[in-house]
Symmetry: C2
């Protein structure tokens, strides 16, 4: 195409984005017109010349991934997807921006609309998730040459680059040489409080260069410069940052360039002035046919690429393996796990559940080639690297283990990106106390409903001498609070194996495994059914009961010991192992009531009581923590805080007497 | 002093640190010898030539602040403090490293031992907290010239610099030109998993330079180079990063330089080899008198500086004002608040509690000159800047408002540093959903027991169209789970004023205010007593009760409306406003029971039920959320999720019937 015609087209394509954004925000009387209008030219050029997607096949595995990290500019994405012709993004959806039940939520929500690759809005998450996608692309390309070969594009704002997670993400991307990742930075020098000079002096280009990125800049309103910059980015083997110098709200003659245009409707008067300024005559929510036609050419190009790819797939020697990766079917795990659990019952190993997890991972990773392990620099502590796993490096992406570095947050977001990409099931480890560092990304996995697996070891005061900074106390409660996150705290090697089965079977939400540092005996006597999946079950059944002891993880052993001691005194104690509150809450009420029984109950967990009302009534007892831990050897800490079989037995007798 | 003698002294001083670290870790059979041994030379030179502290007056306000950001190297700090002669750090404490009840916890714990300026261990927190301290120093210097004039020294490891929070911290420090901050980076190229080249390629010097830092490097085992580098750092007006090239575990001839020396005892054999290698003949836990004498010279220098300072203080025109700042006494607030609350009762404004917070801050900030406001780039949303507050800038530190940028985590840690420094009471705002971003720093404030104030607005689905990424659902529960954190969610302008009174009166733990975006009516009819401080109280007393409605924040209005509707049907509903669960839990059990009564109860909060068992029995009801929110106008969301007076009244009738 003639370059001048192309640029003229792109100006119209961009103005269509501007018009839809300002009109939808105005109609909703809520939203952010500044970013979509400022980045409209960059977006038009990017899609017109570079992006390969097929709106008619939105799950095509080898599509380019487009991530709007600056998620508040959601109308930019909705406008693009409407103009590209995504079947679920009709003008009715654009008109219903930010209204109940629409696909056009205030921030882009994964799963609500086709072409939304990730939920964004919490700043920095998009760019960090995109690093995972770009990494998944390289890992996929190493395994399936010719079938995985696409770009990951990100639009990020100043907020994304100021957030700490961006440091973790760009360091990781630079280190791993993710050359298929291009970040277009909306360099508008405006934040909500005012100019960026209010709060930052960082030279972003120098900062990215320091982390091994290719950096370049362009006038974000000059199509030729934009095109040249993206072309150069594609030619460089490093990940690229393009600083796009833009005017926030570009096109609104009286408001552009100021922070008032960031997050409020322009108002009828300014919208009229913008129409005049842009020469945009079409009424709100009407797009000239010529503009639709220009955007349709992008879809047509994508459709052709997708069909070419399908032809390649059909004749690929990797066809079956690729399909298996896409399906991420855990079925092959079942027989291996059954054999492994039978062996556990025979061997009865006394190991920490983090060690049991390593043993289970030996089975999981052998049976399921699509798992990707990793740890935030605690491999030898989290025990996440099973035998034979090779690390992924910038020179060889064919491995299956990631040294994420001391970057819990970046790891969690990257794992979300790897899951979203579609070919792998990642899991990654850190200490449970540092779940706080990755909490925003854990929440996002739960909100998106994607099965990222978080491996959290050193799960209580049982970690001992490292002390209260490293000892989780409130973390179980705070993680159980996150909707749609399944938390599993197994008590022995069998439950740990079952927890991994659950993690690999999960499809619609993240799973978080909570594992001990200290050794724990094997408590289970049979393993035919995955009892962990029930959430809670009777581990010790005395028949009639005087008291019911309910415990999780490392405290189940304490409950069992207490029950034996009580038996010596003629008191019948049932013991319920409760590895997953969420799974238990999903059981029918009658089943739950039957399991819990009517006898007095005691909950036992080396953590705070919050959340235990799932099991306990006000008159029931609890043996656990009520404040921060301390630094000392673990057995001393358990004694100091009174989390012992003696405490449990003594409380049981008190409750039975009072009953 | 002759330079050669000085260097010889410093070698011995450093070897004393090495010996104490390796022997204490060995005795505890737990801990991290690698960092203390690697950074011993740097530490000896730093203290010997530059640090000004007086161990006999550990709270001297103008002391240098030394922050061990790499907190796992705690034995380095304990060894320094022992050798300097801190009265509470006798050899008995060093021998009891990591044992129950000792001051020498696994990681340095603020408040456990003198000379521990901040709790560290969660990586990156130390450097980010130190930025707050260095900022407080500059703000103090601007207000009290001649009385505040000291340095903030940080030892940080690779972990600290890989964590995202470090980006937020260094950008902030560079932007604010905190030239009195010097970070000594233990550039040992080792992480737990192996060499740093496993996970990072960032050129840290270039990265810090990009954020406006002065950067330089030295051989971390060459005293002359170390001294020259620190001298140059002090001469430069920018914050300085000194890359100290070190050998981890330096001195252990067979283990130094490897990652095995990071976090495990050296073992008896290697300890013997180390003694031989260093020529260190003294038995474990014995220090030659000459070495003590060398360290004592540092203390003597500090004591002299402190006495000179006290003489300056005695004649300073700012003496009284300085003492008031140090005391941070909230007493002057009482009369102004009483008048303000009386005016509220007269005016009965219907405002969002974030707006009520701004109004209360007008009173607080006028009465208490030591408050420092701020927001993570949401000033106009959090409403944290009261009238007349001037921003703090690199050119003028005399203001009282901080534009923290889009850096929730860095803000929270910096606020901890400002509190710890001792002259100011900082508060800072973001959206409640983004409490997740700063959670590790909130936890640290709670663990340290320092009264940082977190202002969290947009506290529920009531924020409307921004949708579920921005709508807190589990955040109240997850924050209430943190021990020693007081969460307050006021229902109107009077409770908001009372919440601020509580926040300013707090001395031993952080306070987190949870505020609405949407307008709320004034519900209180009297304000003589701070009822919010009770945690929960009877807002509507019908005398005899058929049902008790318990609500917080924006849902108290719903409870009151429901109570009126029930009254129309002849049903007597009491309404309890419960702004702070922690304050209520601290009330005597009898008072709590009396308030709650025996009638059926309904809890009402636009959040999950977890934690509500403080008020509710299994048979009681709850009107709130059970999953993520949605994007739509706020009133529609309340209807959609059934959080309405009708739902409450209907549930009340059901419960009364069943009772």
């Amino acid at each position: 195409m003639n370059a001048e015609i192309q640029i003229a087209d792109e100006r119209l394509m961009a103005n269509a984005l501007r018009a839809l954004a300002m009109d939808a925000v105005q109609a909703a009387n809520s939203g952010h017109p500044g970013m979509p209008m400022g980045m409209a030219d960059v977006t038009a050029v990017l899609f017109n010349r570079f992006v390969t997607i097929d709106p008619a096949a939105h799950q095509w595995p080898d599509r380019d991934r487009f991530v709007l990290s600056a998620g508040h500019g959601s109308m930019l994405l909705y406008a693009v997807n409407h103009l590209l012709g995504y079947p679920d993004m009709g003008m009715d959806q654009v008109r219903a921006f930010r209204q109940m039940g629409s696909r056009t939520a205030g921030h882009p929500e994964y799963g609500h609309a086709q072409g939304v690759e990730v939920t964004t809005g919490p700043l920095g998450q998009g760019i960090a998730t995109a690093v995972g996608m770009a990494l998944a692309e390289r890992m996929g390309a190493a395994r399936f040459p010719g079938l995985v070969d696409h770009w990951t594009w990100v639009i990020a704002g100043d907020g994304c680059l100021m957030e700490g997670i961006s440091h973790e993400a760009i360091d990781m991307a630079g280190h791993l040489g993710l050359g298929r990742l291009v970040v277009l930075w909306d360099d508008n020098r405006i934040t909500i409080d005012g100019g960026t000079d209010l709060s930052t002096s960082t030279d972003q280009m120098a900062r990215f260069a320091a982390s091994g990125w290719h950096v370049l800049s362009c006038d974000g309103h000059d199509a030729a410069q934009i095109g040249d910059a993206i072309t150069a980015a594609r030619a460089d083997p490093r990940p690229s940052l393009i600083a796009c110098r833009t005017l926030i709200g570009c096109g609104a003659p009286n408001k552009q360039g100021g922070h008032d245009v960031h997050g409020a409707p322009l108002g009828a008067e300014e919208i009229a002035a913008t129409r005049a300024h842009l020469g945009w005559d079409a009424p709100p929510f009407e797009i000239p046919a010529g503009v639709y036609a220009a955007w349709a050419r992008i879809a047509a190009r994508g459709a052709k690429a997708r069909m070419d790819w399908e032809a390649r797939l059909a004749t690929s020697p990797n066809l079956e393996e690729f399909a298996a990766a896409l399906a991420r079917d855990p079925a092959p795990l079942a027989p291996a796990m059954a054999a492994y659990k039978a062996q556990l019952l025979a061997d009865r190993p006394k190991v920490a559940t983090r060690k049991a997890s390593e043993m289970a991972l030996g089975v999981v990773n052998a049976a399921l080639p699509f798992t990707i392990g990793g740890s935030a620099d605690l491999t030898g502590s989290n025990l996440t690297r099973s035998k034979g796993m090779r690390p992924v490096t910038r020179d060889d992406y064919s491995g299956s283990y990631l040294h994420y570095g001391i970057r819990e947050h970046g790891m969690a977001a990257a794992m979300n990106g790897i899951v979203l990409h579609g070919l792998f099931r990642p899991y990654g480890g850190t200490f449970l106390a540092f779940a706080d560092y990755c909490r925003p990304a854990i929440r996002l996995a739960a909100l998106m409903g994607v099965p990222t697996v978080f491996v959290m070891t050193h799960d209580s005061i049982g970690l001992g001498e490292d002390g209260p900074t490293h000892q989780p106390v409130e973390h179980l409660a705070s993680l159980r609070a996150i909707p749609n996150l399944t938390v599993i705290r197994p008590c022995d090697a069998v439950e740990t194996a079952e927890a991994w089965e659950m993690a690999m079977a999960a499809t619609d939400g993240p799973v978080l495994l909570v594992l001990s540092r200290q050794n724990l005996p094997l408590l289970r006597s049979e393993a035919a059914e995955n009892l962990t999946a029930r959430g809670a079950y009777l581990l010790r059944d005395p028949g009639a009961r005087d008291v019911t002891l309910i415990a999780t993880g490392s405290e189940v052993e304490i409950a069992m010991t207490a029950a034996e001691a009580l038996a010596d005194e003629g008191i019948d104690a049932a013991v319920i192992s409760a590895p997953s509150f969420e799974a238990f809450a999903a059981q029918p009420a009658a089943a739950r009531a039957a399991l819990l029984g009517s006898a007095p109950r005691i909950g036992i967990e080396a953590a705070i009581r919050q959340g235990w009302d799932l099991f306990l009534r006000p008159e029931d007892g609890f043996v656990g923590m009520s404040g921060f831990g301390a630094s000392a050897p673990a057995p001393e800490l358990y004694r100091h805080f009174g989390i012992t079989p003696d405490s449990v037995a003594s409380l049981a007798k008190t409750l039975i007497k009072a009953n």
